[in-house]
Amino acid sequence: MSKTTKKKTTKRKTSKKKWTRVDGRKPDELRPIHIESGVIPNADGSAYIEMGRNKIIAGVYGPREMHPKRFSKPNMGILRCRYHMAPFSVDPRRSPAPSRRDKEISMVMTDAIEPALFLERYPRSVIDVFVEIIEADGGTRCASINAAAVALADAGIPMKDLVSSCASGKYEGNLILDLGDYEDKNGESDVPVAYLPKNDQVTLLQMEGIMTQDETEKCIELAIEGCKQIYEIQKEALKKKYGMVEATEETEEAPEEEEPVEEAEEE
């Protein structure tokens, strides 16, 4: 990816008069996000995310037996993420064979998500997270992590917290949140971040471009604020799957007829 490095100094004054983003968003505004869980019937858990014009599907299989066996760990489970782009997700078409970029993203995704799991509970097993980019629009790795976290929760895999992710960066001298495709390709820098809100920990951090130390720190703070908003959207998405049945429920029946489920035991 070619980044223009035209701005060496950051004089905000010149651009002070009504600077606007290419898509008209405020500097700290996220793109519209839509998340749906349970979209792949075959998978143990799955999620679909639209983040701007990114269209991404994530599916989870496992915990299941690890193949080949020699890669398994006797004392804990393994998380295996695979980030993959559809040939038609970008312009021009790309080869379906995984690129070096895909492999690196798969690795940092795994690192971003693993702290949220209790892998010690699954010795000799693997949890597979497969992410397919149907259409790319800048910030695919962040959107992928958001979808993967929802898919893992949808699979009923125990988690300490959801993982939320979004990027920030610098474009035309301004620090902005959640870069779109154009801003990503033509901006000065790009900082993808993933965040565990409950523990206040950053689990993915990358940076590419030119920024001062101060700007970089501000970017990370900005991205964390974005992650916190996404966290709420992820929670909503998980609850929405059950919300619809419940809503029709209340009009039909009085809640007194409750039947505590935990008392249900096997025969």
Partner: protein, 267 residues
């Protein structure tokens, strides 16, 4: 998941139920599952279709680019069909090079389109012997519940009929430029594949994954809008009698008209 061992119980039950003229999901033998096709839903592809056939879920992307012609046809464009078995689509599918079935899927769909001469390739030349237009049709499987050939064939047809092809200009110096103008891709035929499966003594269409697992064999027949056959592919370690083959062709002709109406609805 075990290595494709079919449960004996499953085989017996499905064969028994099909023998009574019914299916496990309550369908008639020659009844398709609900077919939903959404076209033109990806901005970065010149043509696209999302196909949901029951729980089988496929995305087809059509991309147009520039490439080299084959030596024997210096002025003809090139069409390539590629199928991707994404590991998210089924618990037994793994990342890696395409399995044999994926190659067959792409080739059967490709043969249908090519044999019907769906696109006039001679119109896609740019600089004789050097540059021609390339049409990539990518079949991307997201959830596998049987009958991929029919789903992909319908998706490819739907995506191609709604493809907006860019216009290219060749300057005197031999530079090729993509103009902003687009034109609907001209199709000369509308071929569509229908797969008929043999289970015991019965013939069925649109098999689910379970039915495909226990089937004896299958015949895929591609039929155009005039009722001409464009391609046939027989698979499975059993023989078909001539009578059975004739029955399959009749079924395919009838069903292809039915499915085509849905595939071409977006035209």
């Amino acid at each position: 998941m075990s290595n494709n061992i079919v449960s004996r119980l499953k085989r017996k039950k499905i064969v028994d139920v099909v023998a009574t003229g019914k299916r496990m999901d309550g369908r008639e033998l020659l009844q398709y599952r609900d077919l939903e096709i959404k076209t033109n839903f990806l901005a970065k592809s010149e043509g696209s279709a999302e196909v949901k056939l029951g729980k089988t879920h496929v995305v087809v992307g059509v991309k147009i680019g520039i490439g080299h012609p084959f030596e024997d046809t210096p002025d003809a464009g090139v069409m390539m069909v590629n199928a991707e078995y994404t590991p998210v689509a089924h618990p037994t599918w793994e990342p890696g090079p395409p399995p044999k079935d994926a190659i067959e899927l792409a080739r059967v769909v490709d043969r249908g389109l090519r044999a019907a001469e769906i696109i006039d390739m001679s119109k896609l030349g740019l600089i004789s012997g050097v540059k021609v237009q390339m049409i990539f049709v990518d079949l991307y499987v997201l959830n596998y519940d049987g009958n991929l050939i029919d789903a992909c064939s319908a998706g490819a047809l739907a995506a191609l009929t709604t493809t907006e092809a860019p216009e290219y200009k060749v300057s005197k110096k031999g530079e090729i430029k993509k103009t902003d103008k687009t034109e609907k891709l001209k199709l000369r035929a509308h071929p569509l594949a229908v797969t008929v499966c043999k289970i015991g003594d019965s013939l069925i269409v649109d098999p689910t994954y379970d039915e495909e697992e226990v089937k004896d064999g299958r015949i895929t027949i591609t039929v155009d809008e005039n009722g001409n056959l464009n391609a046939i592919q027989k698979r499975g370690p059993v023989g078909f009698t001539l009578d059975e083959i004739k029955k399959c062709i009749n079924i395919a002709s009838e069903k292809s008209a039915e499915i085509k109406a849905i595939a071409l609805a977006g035209e």
